[in-house]
């Protein structure tokens, strides 16, 4: 059976459509935003129609079922039905466009903004490029002491952090659902596994208000921990985070 050229064009467009929906929406779980999607589809439809009507013959073939529908006296009934559907569809699309939308605005923010090279905390200035965890050295020098430091870091975590970041460090603490943006999930490969200890020190010591503008500091409920914890406590809790999750901090050498 010969498929008409028009049907073929429609099928090709359909394939593009479902590819976008399935690949980005379901597989990557990052659906393309509505307006962008409309634009993509617009170009794809134009493109496909161009290709299909490239030759005179092709264009004629493409149009022939439409021409037939419009002209053939035997298809009167069919014609009325198609016109009806097109009319209702146009009305519906217009309604969708003009009806007031009560959806809250999307707030896009950078989750791990680039760190500044210098930060100030504890009335001091730190250079994040050279800042290191002073306790890391015990990992080799004194494993017993290192273990103890990790435990103390755990105590800091379970007195201060787990309400939000979770007992399992999965960002699902008892109160996590009350916050927007949600607390960071340390088990996720996209958080501490990608970051350096100095970065964590910055994020912990200066909290939400210490974020640069692109990360929406006015939304983040991360407390300013220099008001509650000592420097040592922050370094210990960082040890704990890596120990519990089994991740290793990024370091400069690896770059």
């Amino acid at each position: 059976m010969k498929i008409s050229r028009l049907l073929l064009a429609v099928i090709v467009i359909g394939i593009f459509y479902s590819f976008f929906k399935i690949f980005f929406g379901i597989i990557l779980k990052q659906p393309i935003p509505g307006s962008l999607f409309t634009m993509y589809m617009f170009f794809i439809i134009i493109g496909v129609l161009l290709v299909f009507s490239f030759t005179e013959q092709g264009a004629k073939e493409l149009m022939s079922p439409i021409k037939d529908l419009l002209e053939n006296p035997e298809k009167m009934m069919m014609r009325n039905v198609v016109f009806g559907i097109v009319t209702i569809f146009a009305g519906f699309i217009t309604y969708q466009q003009v009806k007031p939308s009560f959806e809250a605005p999307l707030e896009l923010r950078t989750i791990h903004p680039a760190p500044p090279s210098n930060i100030s905390a504890y009335n001091k200035s730190y250079n994040l490029l050279t800042l290191e965890n002073p306790f890391m050295k015990y990992k080799k020098e004194d494993p017993e002491k290192f273990k103890q430091l990790i435990y103390e870091g755990g105590e800091v975590y379970f007195k201060n952090c787990f309400y939000c970041h979770g007992d399992k460090l999965d960002g699902k603490g008892h109160y996590a659902h009350g916050f927007n943006p949600l607390p960071a999930n340390f088990m996720d490969v996209g958080t501490i596994a990608q970051l350096q200890e100095s970065y964590l020190f910055w994020r912990i010591a200066t909290g939400g208000p210490g974020l640069p503008k692109e990360a929406a500091p006015w939304l983040s409920s991360m407390p300013v921990w220099q008001n509650f914890l000592s420097e040592e406590e922050i370094w210990k809790v960082i040890l704990f985070l890596y120990d519990y999750t089994g991740y290793v901090p990024r370091s400069w050498e690896k770059h």
Binding site: F83, G154, E155
Partner: protein
């Protein structure tokens, strides 16, 4: 038939093997997991005094007591079923800090934990006296009706007349920690769930370690028969209030436009016409002084507006009406101290044009916020509302609420506060007060104080930024436009067809 049989066989094997796992739980391995994951709350020695414990209510279970709250064995049987312990570990206990572990631990590992934590109290052997679920009375109008009477008689002294936990009794657990009777209208806050079968188990066995008694104990004057316990369980389950469900992603309070006057009173039935939105309340654990042991967990808001005014109704369940100076209020408070209940709403002084808002915690130097702060009053002073402007946690300035036209009135009824706050849409001090605008998303945050739970000042529950939206009435064009476009398209179609036919 064959398929059915083999499914049965597989099921049987699964059942046998899971009980086998239960019996064989490896204590040594359980200990290892416990020391990595559970000690932080339950502590190494199992007493429940881990580093996190002082910040938690309910406190972590003391395993040395051998008491388990949520079991399906009889009230006079000390042993729980292994499955009861397993279930709490696997599923966790909602609205407490005990998480479910099944997403990171294997089934075998959780049975190992069961075997290990039983050793803290030397629990051994199989429990003998099981709860008998076989005489279940199906939920029906009649059963619920009968259950209601029993509930008022047996349960309301703690759980309140309508189950919102507002019986007004001071309750403690065996370790002297404050316990709040469950608010039965919020099934999402149950440690287990509100299936009548579960509730039946709770009232049959009691909740060990708390003052919630067994209603199957023949020695008790309050004993209920099997059938009566099913009736009361059916009634308790029917108290679930779907209008308090917090919908994920529902972040907007949609104010409805009305032409006439706005409802003055909090209990005006007209409020039913405004769409409610529910939000979680979380304790203020962000800035000094932090607060860790809240008693309130959600708030509901709805709003109306007209040309001149906006009125917002806040409703939240609070088990206690806290009026300082009132003797009854002092009785319920843990240390005899009572502060006022309160509720506040926060708005930016200037509605942001772009994404940037004031800091959610009482604004910042560049972007101040308005706060409407209602307080429940004391024995000597009536309830009142304050108007505050703030540029940070400790940078508040009190302004004249009456001058801005801000009014508030609250009523407390059977465990629920309802407070209406009202203000003109615009005020004379445009640089200091938010000027409401139709059709814009306006940031809005909430805070609530329960004065009987030592909440005062920075110690309270709260939300971060959500939205208020003054919903414009749909103009005629919303309906006219689609019709016009549709007619044009139809006209176009017919014309094209005509032309084409002429040519062809």
């Amino acid at each position: 038939m064959k398929i059915k049989n083999s499914i049965l066989v597989v099921l049987a094997i699964l059942m046998v093997s899971s009980t086998a796992m239960a019996a064989q739980g490896d204590k040594e391995n359980g200990k290892k997991i416990y020391e990595k994951r559970c000690v932080w709350c339950h502590s190494k020695d199992g007493t429940g005094n881990g580093p996190a414990a002082p910040f938690l209510n309910p406190p972590p279970r003391d395993f040395t007591s051998g008491m388990y709250k949520f079991k399906t064995t009889q009230f006079d049987e000390i042993l729980p079923n292994d499955e009861n312990i397993f279930r709490m570990i696997a599923d966790g206990m909602p609205d407490s800090s005990m998480p479910g572990w099944k997403d990171i631990l294997k089934e075998k590992e959780m049975w190992d934990l069961v075997a290990f934590i039983k050793t803290f109290a030397g629990l051994e052997g199989k429990p003998k006296k099981q709860i008998d679920f076989s005489k279940q009375v199906k939920s029906s109008k009649e059963s619920i009706e009968r259950g209601k009477k029993l509930f008022i008689d047996r349960c309301s002294e703690c759980h309140g007349e309508e189950g919102r936990g507002d019986g007004g009794k001071k309750l403690k657990d065996d370790w002297e920690a404050r316990t709040w009777p469950r608010n039965l209208s919020k099934p999402w806050s149950f440690r287990v769930n509100n299936d009548p079968k579960e509730i039946f188990a709770r009232i049959t066995a009691g909740i060990a370690g708390t003052q919630m008694p067994s209603f199957a104990d023949p020695a008790s004057k309050k004993k209920l028969s099997d059938e009566e316990r099913w009736d009361v369980a059916n009634y308790a389950a029917s108290l679930a209030d779907a209008s308090k469900t917090i919908k994920e992603g529902s972040t907007v309070v949609k104010a409805k436009r009305v032409s006439g006057s706005l409802p003055e009173k909090a209990d005006d039935p007209k409020w039913q016409e405004a769409e409610p939105t529910n939000f979680y309340l979380i304790p203020q654990i962000i800035a000094k002084e932090r607060f860790f042991t809240p008693s309130n967990n959600s708030i509901r808001a709805r709003a109306f507006y007209n040309d001149k005014e906006i009125a917002i109704l806040l409703e939240w369940d609070d088990r206690t009406k806290s009026i300082p100076g009132d003797e009854k209020a002092a009785e319920v408070s843990l240390d005899g101290q009572v502060f006022e209940d309160g509720a506040a709403m926060q708005f930016p002084v200037t509605i942001p044009e772009e994404m940037e808002k004031p800091y959610f915690g009482m604004g910042d130097a560049a972007k101040p916020v308005n706060m409407w702060y209602w307080k429940s009053g004391t024995k000597d002073a009536p309830q009142a509302v304050k108007l505050l402007n703030a540029t940070g946690f400790d940078k508040k300035e009190e302004r004249n609420a009456a001058k801005a036209g801000l009014k508030a009135e609250g009523v407390y009824n059977k465990g629920t506060w309802r407070v209406v706050m009202k203000r003109p849409i615009t005020t004379s001090e445009k640089d200091k007060d938010i000027q409401f605008v139709e059709g814009k998303f306006i940031p809005l945050a909430f805070a609530v104080w329960d004065g009987t739970n030592s909440e005062k000042g920075s110690k309270h529950t709260m939300t971060t930024w959500y939205w208020l939206f003054l919903k414009p009435e749909a103009g005629v064009y919303v309906y006219a436009m689609p019709v016009i476009v549709a007619l044009l398209v139809l006209g176009g179609c017919i014309l094209t067809a005509r032309n084409s036919q002429k040519k062809g």
